[in-house]
């Protein structure tokens, strides 16, 4: 490995992020937030709802800027939207007026690749996510799981070195979700991107990730980091019965539970 390649893929150093509330007050979403994701590493982030997980991802994309501290991507500071980043959204972000293949080619076409090359590549990616034969359907004609796979193809076709995922599978049913987990791990191991995967689901986090970040109830800081030393390749559907998995999820849940309760009490007070 060259010297340059040894810097972490993502680094957040004492980052803070404040929002102005509609009545003009300042609200802190992130405080003294530090995290580091090595190249090729799969990091999961769990934390109570509203603590600042999406905010963290937005800082990495460059869609938002930190109020304090520093965000570094591939060893350099973030300025604007980085083309090496891919983002899979929690909500449906496909373009409903484009059919499946036109959705998938969007990235390469925006980036100025030739039509033929883009469409050829899109066909490959659709085959990889098992959607061959659905090229000319529109998003509203697909099931939720199929739409998610289109979204994965749309993101992966840009071959991002950094993959950010914001609760990508939370809207799916349990069976489809475990299929998507297998799919994601397969794509990731072929591509070797660095991943930050935000989720509410602790089991999902442990099953997929090398490292699990537990955040505090807002303002979010890193409460604890757990290394997940389960062997790869993993079979996500079976790994949850592994004793090491159970032991780890119990330990992380003890940590997370406190924060969830704090967050819950706060939202009750606010109501």
């Amino acid at each position: 490995m060259s010297d340059h390649a040894t810097s972490p893929a993502i680094e957040l150093i004492n980052v803070s992020r404040r929002f102005l509330t509609p009545d003009g007050k300042s609200m802190t979403a992130l405080r003294d937030f530090s995290m580091s994701v090595a190249r090729g590493e799969f990091a999961a982030v769990v934390g109570p709802t509203g603590c600042g997980k999406s905010t963290t991802l937005n800082l990495v994309t460059g869609l938002a800027r930190p109020s304090g501290g520093e965000v570094r991507v591939m060893g350099g500071p973030v300025s604007g939207i980085d083309p090496r980043i891919g983002f899979v959204f929690q909500t449906d972000a496909l373009f409903p007026w484009r059919n499946v293949i036109d959705n998938v080619v969007a990235g390469p076409m925006f980036r100025g690749q030739s039509r033929e090359a883009a469409y050829a590549k899109a066909r490959q990616w659709l085959a990889r996510v098992n959607l061959s034969g659905h090229e000319s359907k529109y998003p509203h004609q697909l099931s939720g799981g199929m739409r998610k796979r289109v979204a994965l193809a749309q993101t992966f076709i840009n071959e991002p070195e950094i993959l950010l995922m914001d609760e990508p599978f939370s809207a799916l049913d349990v069976q489809t979700r475990s299929l998507m987990h297998e799919e994601l791990l397969r794509l990731w191991s072929a591509q070797r991107a660095s991943v930050v995967f935000v989720t509410h689901d602790l089991e999902e986090a442990i099953a997929l990730a090398d490292k699990v970040y537990v955040l505090t109830a807002g303002p979010a800081t890193v409460k604890a980091v757990y290394q997940v030393d389960l062997p790869r390749p993993r079979v996500v559907a079976d790994i949850r019965y592994d004793p090491a998995f159970i032991d780890l999820s119990r330990r992380i849940w003890n940590d997370l539970r406190e924060e969830v309760q704090i967050g819950y009490q706060r939202s009750e007070q606010a109501a």
């Binding site: 994309t61 869609l63 939207i81 083309p83 980043i85 891919g86 983002f87 959204f89 929690q90 909500t91 449906d92 972000a93 496909l94 373009f95 409903p96 007026w97 484009r98 059919n99 969007a106 990235g107 925006f110 980036r111 529109y138 998003p139 509203h140 004609q141 749309q154 993101t155 840009n158």
Partner: protein
């Protein structure tokens, strides 16, 4: 397909137990056809009943024929106009003049409305600055502009086009603006991360997502363009359907006025039909609404 869904009979047929796929499909197709026939039947039945009632009411003196005319005289007047022309020259020429004014006004107004709507929708500061002026101008009743435009631009085409323009522009503008503002945030972020430049973002995300808003406004505003042209002609012109109405009014010729109205209705209906066809072409990505009309 949507027709099938829209018809309650079809739903019943689909869930009839103990039939094969083919029978179910045939039953659904039959039910859908049946439904369409019934809709068409009632549409015509209501028209016939209305016209017959009107005719009868005129004949038996329930309403005064002098003011309300009657369908048969109106039809005769239309026939006369079509075969022999009006007192002011051939009907087709008047119709053409009105349509020309309306179409130019519509095209220019719609294009300007869309462009300004998108530009202001993408630029918050400009929108905040100009919104007050747009509100003020929009509050002017368009009809009072007719004499002003005629004074400035003369009796010819230009004043009618200008009137049709102001009728169309604000409707299209406000819908385009709203459509841009409603564009989904996640979708915009997605496009940006996928690599879209500002221009690509506008062209391939903002405009398409505003399209259904824009189309909704085009539907109504073509009617407005015709209104603008006709009001302009009514106030002062040498040709056009509005002139025919004005002349009929001057000679207390109620049949002539209603005949002109019928012509306008037919034209507006045809335009609406064309517009729906174009829209369906462009919007094939949209899921069929639960209750499809037409």
């Amino acid at each position: 397909m949507s027709e099938i869904m829209a018809s309650p009979q079809a739903a019943k047929a689909v869930f009839a137990p103990g039939t094969s796929d083919r029978e179910i499909e045939a039953a659904a197709a039959r039910a859908a056809l049946n439904y369409r026939r019934r809709v068409t039947f009632w549409r015509w039945a209501i028209l016939v009943l209305f016209l017959a009632g009107w005719e009868a009411a005129s004949t038996y003196g329930v309403i005064d024929e002098f003011f309300y005319a009657r369908p048969s005289t109106i039809a005769m007047r239309l026939y006369d106009w079509i075969t022999e022309g009006t007192s002011e020259g051939p009907l087709w020429y008047h119709l053409w003049v009105t349509m020309e004014e309306a179409m130019i006004g519509f095209a220019v107004g719609a294009v300007a409305g869309v462009l300004v709507g998108i530009a202001l929708g993408r630029n918050r500061m400009a929108a905040d600055i100009f919104s007050i002026y747009i509100k003020v101008i929009n509050s002017i009743p368009r009809v009072v502009l007719a004499p002003i435009f005629i004074m400035i631009l003369g009796l010819g085409l230009a004043s009618k086009v200008a009137l049709a323009f102001v009728m169309v522009f604000f409707v299209v503008f406000s819908n385009a603006f709203q459509g841009v503002r409603e564009a989904d945030r996640a979708m915009i972020a997605n496009a940006q991360i996928l690599g879209a430049s500002q221009w690509q973002l506008t062209r391939s995300v903002i405009v398409p997502s505003a399209m259904s808003w824009i189309f909704a406004s085009l539907h109504v505003s073509f009617g407005f363009a015709i209104v603008g042209a006709i009001v302009g002609e009514f106030v002062g012109s040498r040709f056009g359907i509005g002139l025919l109405i004005n002349i009929a009014k001057g000679s207390f010729d109620s049949a002539g006025m209603y005949a002109a109205i019928v012509i306008i209705m037919v034209v507006a209906l045809a335009a609406e039909y064309v517009m729906t066809m174009i829209e369906n072409r462009l919007a094939k990505w949209r899921p069929a609404p639960l209750h499809e009309t037409n």
